[in-house]
């Protein structure tokens, strides 16, 4: 149940999504990846992509326009 952080602040869409996809491949099932983003587009496509791949996703706004996306790798 390890936890990893992926800092994507200042990175435009679709970089956060590509990084998330690659990082998630390295993780074990049950691990959590926290993606930190501030590009509104990534706020849409990262959770959408992760949900489509049957991962558990939660989004939290940690500051004005900055978000943490919690992805529990389940598959």
């Amino acid at each position: 149940m390890a936890e990893y952080e992926l800092d994507c602040l200042g990175e435009a869409c679709p970089i956060p999504l590509v990084k998330t996809e690659n990082k998630l491949k390295e993780l074990e099932i049950g691990d959590t990846l926290i993606v930190i983003i501030d590009h509104s587009c990534a706020l849409k496509n990262v959770p959408e992509w992760a949900r489509k791949h049957k991962h558990e996703v939660e989004v939290e706004e940690i500051g004005d326009g900055e978000y943490e996306i919690f992805i529990d790798k389940t598959a």
Binding site: H39, S40, G63
Partner: protein, 252 residues
């Protein structure tokens, strides 16, 4: 309207995850608060700024409509509404073309197609209204030749908007949002537009002026034109829907 596309994503999302968050909320909230309580600034209540901005928007709108022209007032209101909707729905023309390839998601592609369908009906209504009243048909200045330049420009624009993280509207919207990187995008967007304007004569001479000019109502009649247009949009919508299902099956 596609619910997927217009849903405000910042809200706590689907049923599955909210059920889950109920199960794990104790673990989560404790972990989150310890992890970030030190570095996290308390979120400031911005309601008062929002009301201030709204008041300024209304004041400028009244000024433009009264002192400049009614059309400027309408531009101001539609522009603000456009930006607000783009921001709140994460509507993005770039993603509508990019995500089908990159993630297999076509929710924004379908949203764009719906928007095209609605504007098509609006355009036909306005043009038909003018034509039957014997007035000059508005917007005919934008009926321009189709040529190789259209495809070449679309291809270059596509590369540019994916690299820059936004098309024109997306870039402007994110600047408004306070996203610094897009300030760089807009500078080079303007630079690129100047360059294009410089070369426009060459393109016009060699490609654009040779292309056919097609105004669908002239070919199919008014009813036929809107029918053909909506039919094509409908077929694209079905294709987009099938594409998403296929991509999902491939990956799982």
């Amino acid at each position: 309207m596609s619910e997927e596309a217009v849903r405000v994503i910042t809200e706590e999302p689907s049923d599955a995850s909210s059920r889950r968050s109920a199960q794990t909320s104790s673990r989560r909230s404790s972990r989150r608060s310890t992890r970030r309580s030190v570095e996290r600034k308390p979120k400031q209540d911005q309601t008062i700024y929002g009301l201030g901005v709204l008041a300024i928007v209304i004041a400028v709108g009244i000024y433009l409509a009264a002192a400049v022209s009614a059309v400027m007032g309408i531009f101001w209101v539609t522009g603000i509404a456009f930006g607000f909707i783009l921001r709140r729905t994460n509507f993005c023309f770039t993603a509508s073309m990019r995500d089908p390839i990159m993630t297999g998601s076509t929710s924004l592609t379908k949203a764009v197609l719906i928007a095209f369908a609605i504007t098509s009906i609006g355009f036909v209504a306005i043009q038909y209204g003018s034509a039957t009243a014997g007035l000059p048909v508005p917007g005919m200045g934008f009926v321009v030749p189709i040529s190789f330049a259209t495809a070449a420009g679309a291809f270059l624009f596509g590369i540019g908007m994916v690299l820059a993280g936004g098309c024109a509207s997306g870039t402007l919207m994110r600047i408004g949002e306070g996203y610094g990187m897009q300030l760089l995008s807009i500078v080079f967007f303007v630079f690129g537009s100047f360059w294009a304007a410089r070369d426009m004569g060459w393109w016009t001479l060699n490609f654009i002026s040779n292309g056919p000019v097609i105004h669908l109502p002239a070919v199919f009649g008014w009813g036929g034109a809107i029918f053909v247009q909506l039919l094509i949009i409908g077929l694209l919508y079905i294709a987009a829907d099938k594409w998403e299902t296929r991509k999902q099956e491939q990956e799982s």
